[in-house]
């Protein structure tokens, strides 16, 4: 499946760039997270790593569709 990944904050640094195109077998966000944590070990050191699709948080059970844009949300720190 082809996915577009958008990374903010420290995730952008870990992946060395803001946007990425991925071609992988993942069908849920849980699987995508597993893949990213294996590929980029620094994700495992974070306090948390959340995901958003269509500007809404989605948990690990969310089923991805071809060409989804998935946003990586490392620990937020507004205010």
């Amino acid at each position: 499946m082809k996915l577009k990944i958008v990374a903010f904050g420290i995730a952008k640094e870990i992946m060395d760039g803001k946007t990425h195109e991925l071609e992988l077998e993942a069908s849920t966000i849980g699987e995508l997270k597993k893949y990213l944590c294996e590929e980029y070990g620094d994700f495992q050191k974070l306090n948390s790593l959340a995901f958003a699709v269509n500007e809404e948080y989605q948990d690990g059970t969310y089923v991805l569709s071809e060409n989804d844009e998935v946003v990586l949300i490392p620990p937020v720190a507004g205010g």
């Binding site: 958008v6 903010f8 904050g9 420290i10 640094e13 050191k45 974070l46 306090n47 958003a52 500007e55 809404e56 948080y57 946003v71 949300i73 490392p74 620990p75 937020v76 720190a77 507004g78 205010g79």
Partner: protein, 138 residues
């Protein structure tokens, strides 16, 4: 009335108070978050804020709607700044106007606590000898 923005310009407490003005308000509470000069005793040189803008605005609107629903607020104004900020610059202003003041204190504190947990905004602290993404690591 809900007014939520993410801005690269200087934030203004007076403007926020005026936006939140309502003739039946008995109390308006404003939280002003500024850039601290130190973190755990270490000097901060400046801060850089980054936002996933469209979703951050949407999450801030959710908070504002909860405040209207749960505390009967007449007005909720949330202005958050992004970009490079110096010490003492204002990073966020949350203004809540309610019929009675106790609700305004509660609701404003709820809003800033929740903003810090849910709104996709990131903050990098730049020290004299390095930089750190705030809250990223244990």
């Amino acid at each position: 009335m809900i007014d939520v923005i993410i801005s690269e310009e200087t934030l203004d407490p007076l403007k926020c108070a005026q936006l939140a003005q309502h003739p039946a308000t008995g109390g308006t509470v404003q939280f002003i978050g500024t850039v601290r000069n130190n973190t755990k005793g270490k000097n901060v040189v400046r801060l850089e804020f980054e936002a996933f803008k469209s979703m951050a605005v949407s999450e801030m609107e959710k908070i504002a709607q909860q405040v209207v629903k749960n505390w009967g607020a007449y007005a909720v104004v949330i202005h958050h700044r992004v970009g490079v900020l110096a010490i003492e610059d204002i990073a966020v202003i949350i203004t809540v106007a309610t019929p009675h003041r106790k609700a305004a204190f509660e609701a404003c504190e709820y809003a800033i606590d929740t903003l810090k947990q849910t709104v996709p905004i990131w903050k990098k602290e730049i020290f004299e000898d390095g930089e750190v993404w705030v809250a990223a690591h244990p």
